[in-house]
Amino acid sequence: MNRFAFALIAWLTLGFELGLRSPLRLQVGGSNLSPSFMLIAATLIALGTTPTQTAWACLILGMLVDLTWAVPVEGAATATILGPYTIGFVLLGQVVLAVRGQLIRKNPLTLAFLTLVGGAATHVVVAGILTLRSFYDPVIWDVGQQLVERFGTAVYTAVFAWLVGVVVFWFPPMTLVVESTGLDFTQGRPWGRRA
């Protein structure tokens, strides 16, 4: 994948992430659900690049999410933590790499399903690290509430991933634009087997 194109995609997607988190928030019971465009971008990139590029791309996207997360801590302050989303996104990349050979890559449902699975894996990692931190750091963290919200968020994000997939895979001009960045969605061999 072209590095300049990746930087542009990361910049735009992070802008959408920060700009639309609140406006797209859904109140379901006591839980707040909002979609994550960075998860969709990471899944899309992992679907169409080499394993090395996937690892680097997910690492950078995860770092950007970590840096823009104002972690609530006791008192009026917030904190910045580097790691939870970075590790989570790298795991997401590995999950997508492991199963993408079994799925039809150029299908919106594939993008939605992998975003759901990868997003759930990412949030489990984030919840795990923050729960561990809550034993020695003043983070305000209710693990039960967070897990419910985060699985809801993964489902909500998957719905948006399907919409993004429809635009990217079913509108030829958009497909051309996306593929011009170096992403390749042609079908690979199942489990990477040799021909």
Binding site: W11, T68, A76, G83, V139
Partner: protein, 268 residues
Amino acid sequence: MLGTLVLSVTPIRWLGWLGEFASVTRTIVGPVSHPVSWVGRRLRSAPFLEARPEALVQLERERDHYRFLYEQQIARNENLLRQIEELQKGFLVSTDQPLRQLTVPVTGSSSDASSRVLIVRAGRAQGVHENAVAVTDGVQLVGTVVRADQRSSLVKPITDPSAGLIEAQVMVGDGVGIPCALSPQHDAVLKGPLGEVPSGTPQPQIGDLVRLRDGTWPAHAQSLVVGAVAALEPSKDTPLRLIVTVRPTVDVTLVSEVVLRIIDEGAP
């Protein structure tokens, strides 16, 4: 990757230096997040669907503003009386500090849903400082600045679950209020026990305004509107006491701009 693993479990007190990188990231992404946020917040609040005359909206704002000034004067009188008493006892009292109001756009929010922090496009370069109070619609309290960087700041809304307890008064009559202690809930409301209603005082009703009366907040923020009473129910532990649920008059996480009330250090 190993470094990330180590950083992910490093105690927060050793990660303060990451704040500068976070600030730079927010500044770089601002040109994208601001227009996207503006469009999203406008569509979500959808003022064009309400079809209310602009003149009526303006008059309501002016009414709310003058009521706020009136309530604030009452609070100020009470404060002055207390200061007189303290002066008579020989204590030193602080004088009023000069205040400046700065209208700033909201360019986004935190990247994780666990935090409802708002990013605003003004920072130390514009005189913004931590604990500056953010309001909208002239009198609706939004929250406080929890981090001021060079070009951007973070505002923690009063409805953020980590925002902490707020002491306020349910206004039941002309300058008459019943104290309550409100804590933010996960569903964007504040909830807490209502103080004892003195005899002869009207009972609180749904829709009554709730105003800030909290000594931990700056004097200029007293009497700002926290919200309106959305529900009143008996306490489960002590049925004779009421639990009040307060909802801000606007969704404070969806505002597209806020007014920051800044203490002007450079003023004479």
